[in-house]
């Protein structure tokens, strides 16, 4: 007996971009409808007002728009940091730790040197300290991956917790006032080490950095020799070796670059947003960044869109929770649901499903 399976799955050729984006948009829309239905069941409001609340949470007031843009810029920078490493199939799950170390470096300079040196020097030193700290934090797993092929997914993951505890240690050391187990706002009076406002907007500088970084990473990945080497190593290490790429060097360099940009994010967070040091400063962006980069197919411009979706959801869900009196974690549930849909829809882009045809049945 010749058994033909009911469903046959084959890999499909690459879809034209408009069709692949149509599939993704459908997935997001279906997910949004599902989220609306779930919210509806919980708060018993009419669905339009739920979506309206989400939009209001992001664009309701000028302040909200700026907050949203700041979140978007930081989210985007974090995922841009991770993208080159992922391109190389180096799963850097340590973004959180690298950002935290960047925060620590910046905060250390702010606390120890703030007011003792001219402000511009302090800011520059903060930047250097943050980048060095981030680079080291990603460089260690990068080195072991390059040298001994140590599993980087798990290594970087563990580095997060070490970073968290080191930051916790310094939070206690620098606590202000004593006994509060809190660093408080650093240099609140002198504003030493605070990033300057541009056009009276506190967050403008972060947005400018994000825009520049997006362009820079795009060029780096697409038009430089480094970018080419990264994609070859990501596709096949043996090919890379064969054409004379020094694989170890590329792995170490890309991991370090990833950490350096994460450190930069830490600098922006401490110098430009929070002006304090806590263990939760990076707020899981290292993990969300993984998803943003992957969903955006490592293309910096697509990543703007994917980080917007995640930030929009997060802000929107927060607004729903405050207005309808739900719990804060509602946002995570919605984000999780939408991610499942976006992750799942990739299948329909890469594979084709054909059902058993009638004539096959007769043969059987």
């Amino acid at each position: 007996m010749n058994k033909v399976p009911l469903i046959h799955i084959t890999r499909r050729k690459e879809l034209p971009w408009y069709r692949s984006w149509a599939v993704r948009v459908i997935a997001v829309v279906v997910a949004l409808i599902l989220c609306g239905v779930i919210t509806l069941l919980l708060v018993k409001e009419n669905p339009i007002s739920i979506y309206a609340t989400m939009i209001k949470g992001n664009f309701g007031t000028t302040k909200k728009v700026w907050n949203m843009l700041e979140e978007l810029a930081i989210m985007l920078c974090t995922s841009l940091a991770l993208a080159p490493a992922f391109r190389m199939k180096f799963w850097n799950l340590g973004g959180d730790g690298q950002v935290l170390m960047g925060c620590l470096g910046s905060a250390a300079v702010m606390i120890l040197l703030g007011g003792k040196l001219p402000n511009i020097v302090v800011v520059l030193l903060m930047l250097v300290a943050a980048i060095v700290a981030g680079t080291i934090w990603a460089g260690i797993p990068g080195f072991f991956k390059a040298r001994f092929n140590t599993n980087e997914t798990l290594f970087t993951l563990m580095m997060n917790y070490i970073a968290t505890q080191i930051v916790a240690f310094f939070v206690v050391v620098w606590e202000n006032p004593k006994g509060s187990s809190n660093v408080g706002i650093i240099n609140q009076a002198s504003r030493a080490g605070w990033l300057p406002t541009i056009f009276n907007q506190k967050y403008m500088i972060i947005i400018i950095v994000a825009v520049l970084l997006t362009a820079a990473i795009y060029v780096y990945m697409k038009y430089t020799k480094h970018g080419y080497e990264i994609s070859v190593v990501g596709e096949s290490e043996s090919t890379a070796k064969y054409i004379g790429i020094k694989v170890r060097k590329v792995i170490l360099r890309t991991a370090a670059l990833s950490g350096a940009i994460c450190g930069l994010v830490g600098f922006l967070l401490v110098g430009g947003v929070s002006h304090t040091l806590t263990t939760s400063l990076s707020a899981g962006r290292g993990f969300t960044g993984v998803m943003v980069a992957w969903l955006g197919k490592f293309n910096p411009f697509f990543m703007i869109l994917t980080s917007f979706i995640l930030v929009f959801l997060d802000k929107g869900a927060k607004e729903i929770t405050t207005i309808f009196g739900l719990n804060d974690s509602f946002g995570s549930i919605l984000t999780g649901l939408i991610l499942f849909f976006i992750i799942g829809c990739e299948f329909f882009l890469n594979y084709q499903i054909s059902f058993r045809k009638k004539q096959n049945k007769e043969v059987a």
Binding site: R11, N149, I166, N327, F347
Partner: protein, 330 residues
């Protein structure tokens, strides 16, 4: 010193058991080649589902609780909840062949969200003043100990003073070790994780093994969440209290080099390390306490480096860990 150990070891054990469940569950999953980074989320879901079951059962029957149902209902809720999480993960990664890391992270976001959302809602329903739910009656049922153990002195204290779920965890670890290394099912499972194409050619149903291993692994991990609430926290759920234990369980899988049998002692050591900072006299210097908490993670990294440097074949992660399998790929 002796008295200290008699006091310290039981606490380390109770800390370690949630990790043991998580580690055994995740090892079973990883043996099939699925790196489930959703385990922290699954353990949250396992915990909250048990809490939901216990909460409604306690409220429905009041004081006359049936001991069997009081244990059975939360247990079932936990198993069903974590099974569903395992199904989401396997559907996305096995059937739809999605990226495992991304799916796992999304599952963790989702699971922790579910845990804290329903936890927060229950707290609201119960109208308590403190932000937690107290289920001491259910917890009492879960923490029934071996009668007469306390009469055995120090040995009784260290070996026999625990609730049933502690021994169940050890039993699971031994069972998992035996099944993986001694039975045909285990051999098939390992071959799926090492080289799915070879397994497929040998006539093993790769998808079925991946589904079963992931779902069973998720259910075992979920029990870790339940034990945390009912056994360790004496029935008190408060949001985010479970903390980073899920990630620590993942670390433990590496620490035990994918051998569930080792997880018995390793998880107790990890549990000990996790609470060690409470016992090291630091005086007024609270900062150093934070540094002691690094030890378990540092130990994991060192093991990870050592296994990769020595490069012994039997100590490596499953060969195809983290990769999805598609038969028609070359």
């Amino acid at each position: 010193m002796f008295n200290f150990l008699v006091q310290f070891i039981p606490r380390a054990v109770v800390q370690g058991v949630p990790l043991m469940y998580g580690c055994v569950g995740e090892t079973i999953t990883e043996k099939s080649g699925n790196l489930n980074l959703g385990t922290p989320g699954i353990m949250y879901v396992g915990g909250i589902c048990g809490v939901i079951g216990a909460f409604f059962y306690e409220n429905a029957v009041g004081n006359n609780m049936n001991p069997f149902l009081g244990v059975f209902i939360p247990l079932m809720c936990t198993l069903i909840g974590s099974l569903l999480m395992g199904l989401i993960y396997s559907f996305l990664t096995v059937t739809l062949r999605a990226n495992q890391n991304v799916t796992g992270l999304a599952l963790t976001t989702f699971g922790i969200g579910i845990g804290n959302f329903f936890g927060g809602s229950l707290i609201k329903i119960s109208g308590a003043d403190v932000p937690s739910i107290v289920l001491s009656r259910t917890s009492k049922l879960f923490s029934a100990t071996i009668p007469g153990a306390s009469k055995l002195g120090a040995i009784g204290e260290v070996l026999f003073s625990y609730s049933t779920m502690v021994y169940v965890a050890i039993l699971f670890a031994i069972l998992a070790a035996l099944i993986i290394s001694k039975t045909r099912v285990g051999l098939n499972l390992r071959s799926v994780g090492e080289s799915p194409a070879t397994a497929d050619a040998a006539g093993i149903n790769v998808e079925k093994y991946k589904y079963f291993a992931t779902c069973i692994g998720a259910m075992v991990s979920g029990l870790g969440g339940l034990f945390y609430v009912m056994g360790y926290a004496s029935g008190i759920w408060s949001n985010d209290a479970f903390g980073d234990r899920g990630w620590l369980a993942l670390a433990l899988v590496i620490f035990t080099i994918w051998r569930p049998g080792h997880s018995i002692w390793a998880s107790i050591i990890f549990g000990g390390l996790f609470i060690l900072h409470n016992y090291i006299p630091t005086g007024v210097n609270l900062a150093n306490k934070e540094l002691y908490k690094i030890i378990p993670y540092l130990a994991t990294i060192i093991i990870l480096i050592i296994t990769s440097v020595r490069n012994k074949r039997e100590n490596q992660p499953p060969e195809s860990l983290g990769l999805s399998y598609f038969r028609e790929d070359r």
